[in-house]
């Protein structure tokens, strides 16, 4: 028995080693970024072609230097607060609006549903990047310029997320929603208490992606906002990255600062993914 177990363990070990290698292949820029934010620029470039590229400065006192200088240069906290505010609002809004729409498409056979859904797929095609000016004109017309709404609203509804939610809801066995209906739940309740919790993986995914999307947006907030107190973190990043002279360690430290929340959000949402719902209500394990 021991031998068998050790063979099993062996299998686990070597697959884990392989996967770890694969993981490192995807992880190295992140590591490099964090590590590079912890050494003088000179070292970044001196180390770049050997393994030291992935080690922070040997001198611990160097680790925080880039950080202290960007905190000195910018009001990083305010930017972060702004960014968090925009991203959180947009994520919540996006989850609400898109999941509701997905619910409508998945569970109601309203007239015109197929047509609208086809249109939605067609909308996926429209490249937002080429419509900046027109979008700005619309935002100006409806008078939301210079308000957080201008940053949040345009990115909120996405055909893709609607599509994702619709698929997820369509997969939930009707018997579960039926049970809820008989329990006297209104449609909104079923949506809120049954469907949404049962599609946590999708909620988590859309949440993560919305948050990241909003967090990384730079041009649009800059266009619709004028008060630099309202700017998101990306503005600072771009600024650091483009104002000559560019100090790579400072760039890396502001990028690290801006990446950490993304990773936290990712982990936060992934927890729900891991839990999984495991089963549908009909006794499937």
């Amino acid at each position: 028995m021991n031998r068998i177990i050790s063979r099993k363990t062996f299998h686990i070990v070597w697959t884990t080693v392989l996967i770890t290698l694969l993981a490192l292949f995807f992880l190295f820029p992140l590591v490099w970024m964090i590590v590079s934010s912890m050494k003088p620029e000179q070292q970044i470039y001196n180390n770049i072609s050997n393994f030291k590229a992935f080690l922070p400065s040997a001198n611990i006192s160097e680790w925080g230097k880039a950080y202290s200088s960007i905190f000195h240069r910018f009001n990083v906290f305010r930017y972060i607060l702004n960014s968090v505010f925009y991203a959180v609002s947009l994520t919540i809004g996006s989850l609400l609006v898109n999941s509701l729409a997905g619910y409508g498409f998945a569970k109601y056979k309203f007239t015109g549903r197929k047509l609208i859904f086809g249109l939605l797929i067609a909308m996926l095609v429209i490249p937002g990047a080429t419509l900046l000016i027109q979008q700005f004109q619309v935002a100006k017309t409806i008078g939301i310029l210079n308000t957080p709404l201008a940053v949040i609203l345009p990115g909120m509804s996405s055909p893709f997320y609607i599509y994702m939610f619709r698929n997820a809801f369509a997969e939930i066995p009707d018997s579960v929603t039926e049970a809820a209906e008989l329990d006297g739940a209104s449609n909104l309740r079923i949506f809120w208490n049954i469907l949404l919790p049962m599609t946590m993986p999708t909620v988590a995914t859309v949440g993560t992606l919305s948050f990241i999307g909003s967090w990384n947006d730079y041009v649009w907030p800059l266009m619709v906002l004028t008060n630099s107190d309202q700017f998101p973190l990306q503005v600072a990043i771009t600024n650091i990255n483009n104002t000559q002279p560019v100090y790579m360690n400072q760039v890396m430290s502001i990028l690290t600062i801006s990446t950490v929340p993304l990773i936290l959000v990712y982990i936060f949402f992934q927890k729900y993914l891991v839990q999984g719902m495991g089963s549908a209500g009909n006794g499937d394990k």
Binding site: S175, E178, L182, D183, G184, G281, G283
Partner: protein
């Protein structure tokens, strides 16, 4: 506590060729306990689902207390239902599964807790209240489904094979509990089961279904003692009634193979003759328990005796089932364990002709009354 009327109800699934429920007429009195029985796929669940509002009614009207409900949303029908496949909320604990409906009805927290504690006590689920359905055994899940419906105190209660995954003992207990609850609350109930004992003991009236059509509606004793047709006669009772193709001649029935030739009791004979079946072919049905092997019986009714060889014999504790071959059909008899006979043994069996049923050969309708 409410009255339910189903008038000429039909159901056809969107992608199906045939009707799953046909010309369904049933009038359920307030407080009545109705049991649906019928072969797998005969439309029991479908009918329940139409009543609950989960399936559209293709044709016909469905009324609660005289009000047409065809188009009322399920949540406004105030019906509690136990689903055949449980349909538990997988993301909620057992407790929350049961509490959900109550919460929606704004029942107070303490009230909810009281109800759930009571129900879970009855159902033996106390220690599982904090688990999610995935970590329960099949029977435990079914009990949760039952509990979720029980706590609701709805005026209509639909149960689709709510005890099928429980052991015999628990089943008896549960059955008794369901009877008790019904007696207390007088909820109008429709209950689907495959268990004859459940059907017999719980039902005020039994509805026998076949291929989406009602075959007979009646009290348990009625469907057992006066089956409307061959199907009902064969379906109710376990083991099933034995049927023979016989011919009535000179007050005797004899089967085609000539394996027996038995006099028909006067009362029955007169009815059959009145209906013009003298000299005609008929279907004769006899229940296994009406086939006797006791010496006393064989001696008292020598003309009723048939002989055959045991093919299979099953000893079931207090009684024995003998499978023999007679008149070209299998004859099952349920006799005392004392009269156990090994396969191959030659046995004499007496037909209790007063309990025999006769049916028309073509329409298969009963001829008894």
């Amino acid at each position: 506590m409410v009255k339910i009327d189903l008038d000429h109800v039909y159901k056809k699934y969107d992608n199906a060729k045939n009707y799953s429920v046909k010309d369904f007429n049933l009038h359920i009195n307030p407080q009545e306990f109705i049991v649906f029985v019928g072969p797998s796929g005969c439309g029991k669940s479908t009918t329940l689902r139409m009543i609950a509002g989960l399936e559209d009614i293709t044709k016909g009207t469905f009324k609660i207390d005289g009000k047409v409900m065809n188009d009322v949303a399920p949540k406004n029908r105030d019906i509690a239902m136990v689903f055949q496949n449980y349909a538990l909320y997988p993301h909620m604990t057992v407790y929350d599964n049961m509490a959900f409906g109550l919460k929606l009805n704004k029942v107070s927290k303490s009230e909810i807790d009281k109800k759930i504690q009571k129900a879970s006590e009855i159902l033996g689920l106390k220690e599982y209240l904090k688990r999610k359905p995935a970590a329960l055994s099949g029977g435990q899940r079914q009990r949760v489904a039952l509990g979720r419906a029980i706590v609701r105190d709805a005026p209509i209660f639909l149960m689709d094979e709510p005890l099928s995954n429980l052991d015999a003992k628990l089943r008896v207990t549960m059955r008794a509990e369901i009877a008790k609850i019904h007696q207390q609350l007088k909820t109008t109930t429709i209950y689907v089961t495959h268990d004859q004992t459940e059907a017999m003991t719980l039902a005020d009236r039994i509805v026998v279904l076949k291929d989406g059509q009602i075959q007979q509606v009646g009290t348990p004793m009625e469907v057992y003692n006066k089956p409307a047709n061959v199907f009902v006669a064969g379906f109710i009772g376990s083991p099933a009634m034995n049927f023979f193709n016989v011919k009535l001649e000179n007050g005797l029935v004899h089967d085609i193979n000539g394996d027996f030739n038995i006099p028909v009791p006067e009362g029955k004979l007169n009815i059959l003759k009145d209906k013009g079946y003298d000299g005609q072919e008929l279907i004769m049905g006899i229940r296994p328990e009406d086939v006797h092997t006791e010496q006393v019986f064989l001696e008292s009714f020598p003309h009723n005796v048939v002989e055959s060889t045991v093919v299979v014999s099953e000893l079931l504790g207090s009684e024995t089932q003998l499978y023999t071959n007679l008149g070209g059909t299998e004859l099952v008899s349920k006799v005392d364990a004392r009269d156990f006979a090994k396969p191959g043994a030659h046995v004499k069996m007496g037909f209790e002709m007063n309990k025999v049923h006769f049916f028309d050969k073509d329409s298969e309708e009963t001829l008894d009354n």
